[in-house]
Symmetry: C2
Subunit: 349 residues, 2 copies
Amino acid sequence: MTPEFTPACPLPITDYPHVLLAHGGGGRLMQQLIEKVFLAAFANPPLEQRHDGAVLEVAGRRLAFTTDSYVVSPLFFPGGDIGTLAVNGTVNDLAMCGARPRWLSAGFILEEGMPMETLWRVVQSMRQAAAAAQVQLVTGDTKVVDKGKGDGLFINTAGIGVIEHELTINPSQVQPGDAILLNGDLGRHGMAIMSVRAGLEFETTIESDCAPLAAPVLALLDAGVEVHCLRDLTRGGLAAALNEIAGAGGVELEIDEGAIPVTQQVQGACELLGFDPLYVANEGRFVAFVAAPDTARALGVLRAQPLGTAACRIGAAAKGTPGLVTMRSRIGARRVVDLLSGEQLPRIC
Amino acid sequence: MTPEFTPACPLPITDYPHVLLAHGGGGRLMQQLIEKVFLAAFANPPLEQRHDGAVLEVAGRRLAFTTDSYVVSPLFFPGGDIGTLAVNGTVNDLAMCGARPRWLSAGFILEEGMPMETLWRVVQSMRQAAAAAQVQLVTGDTKVVDKGKGDGLFINTAGIGVIEHELTINPSQVQPGDAILLNGDLGRHGMAIMSVRAGLEFETTIESDCAPLAAPVLALLDAGVEVHCLRDLTRGGLAAALNEIAGAGGVELEIDEGAIPVTQQVQGACELLGFDPLYVANEGRFVAFVAAPDTARALGVLRAQPLGTAACRIGAAAKGTPGLVTMRSRIGARRVVDLLSGEQLPRIC
């Protein structure tokens, strides 16, 4: 390799000389890390779209390409495990590019001493999740690290999907007036993990909403709905997703607290533990930004899908202040929905 | 997800109730893990080719898709670091599918408390390696795990390459009589890592051979050489690569010890530390199986490439016993070159 000028590590990254948990939390510190380190180093058009995946062109056909590592703790939780998460999480990022998910890779980092039975169970979950999401796991890799240098099992999956329509779907397409649709209630995944970690017993178990979202997304596209942007509500929850889109799309977003479904059970757990459901991670929820005239039709399409029966309109894009997200509370006051520094719940996915 | 029958964990995996370092070592235990757990769960044609990557078809164009996680220790070593490895390793797996590497994803798993400066240096290495290999890093992910639950930095990269020729390149294409060509001397990467770990001082530093191999591979293909199979010589070294190909291709492979280049320095380090260069990992070396009549031309093409100046013919495929690899020693005796149970050097990549 030819010697090359290596720029110095930039501010404000040097304000944090060591990596914090918050750098992986989906909040402001992670945004800074991405902007100042990764985007600075790897500048190119697909990366700069800052979408859930890159859109590439091969032989006149557009493909989506995405990756996620999964480090959730504990490995098993009500409603899923790291294996279901590793398949559905990446399937969902492809779906958010408007692509039909097709192929996944899987990279396993095992800690020496992990029970083989645990790996076996996780792999069976991945097999079932891949079958349900209609994707093939076509290539993989296994590494083992010494005991004490990992945490049982980390999984990376990358995915390729095929884009079968002509729309451009990313934050830059959001227009003032677009309706913001949500496919169901918020907060189940985060609260399912948290209740296991805290050893809490509620009257009934809160199960993760972990599920593959390609079917409702493709249903919208097949119906010809004018979809401008899609985003699943993982780390940082609805609040982080809306802040990212408002910033990248240069619009203000206004949502209505009364329109956002949260089950009593999740609301109760959030109050008990001091969380705000707007910031809690989901693994089966997404927002769709659609052209205002298509709102009713899009809701009809979503509600006909098993993963959209509770779909609703939670707000709209506006000219206003680019990057700002505001919420009208149940009593009518408006407040800013800001990004947190990090995630309230580390290692949620 | 529909409830489904989950088969019990299979023998002989249950002979090893816990994950061992050797399960990631590129040897027999890793082969068992792949066959009994991963292939059993995810059976599909691309995966069953057991190549360095999957070959997929999109819009009449063949793509290669591959992934690797990198857990090398230490993160920095003579001749490279985890960043150069994470780019070149995945670029090379694409090249071994006969593809032109185009796009990479990167998933970072950071340990809380890791110096930000370390991440910065690694990302700069990745940037330079990606530029040298002419690939774009187009999508990524960052996770942070608690202190003591990782080891500084793990990186996963997945890659997509485009196949621009009509050949089928994988172990099933190897024919008795095919020449086995090697692009240079063996053992540098493993010995570079080992000398750092052992704190050894040789007269000169052994540097890793870590390099992108797409240029010599594409030169062979552009010249119209009839290439049947390609394999880079990473974990488990030349011995593991040949055993895998002999098994998957159903041929016997015969190599000639005297034809295999190893520098005096690497040979000396191996003798000092009790390693066999045939089993030591490389990150810039590959074997090409080519039709016998193309041997001289292929060597000419390789030797004109910066990464093939020392290219040589080290043996040939034969009918013989499917799966067997034998070597004629310098004194003329023949011995079996077997797979080890695991890697001599854990966490080499």
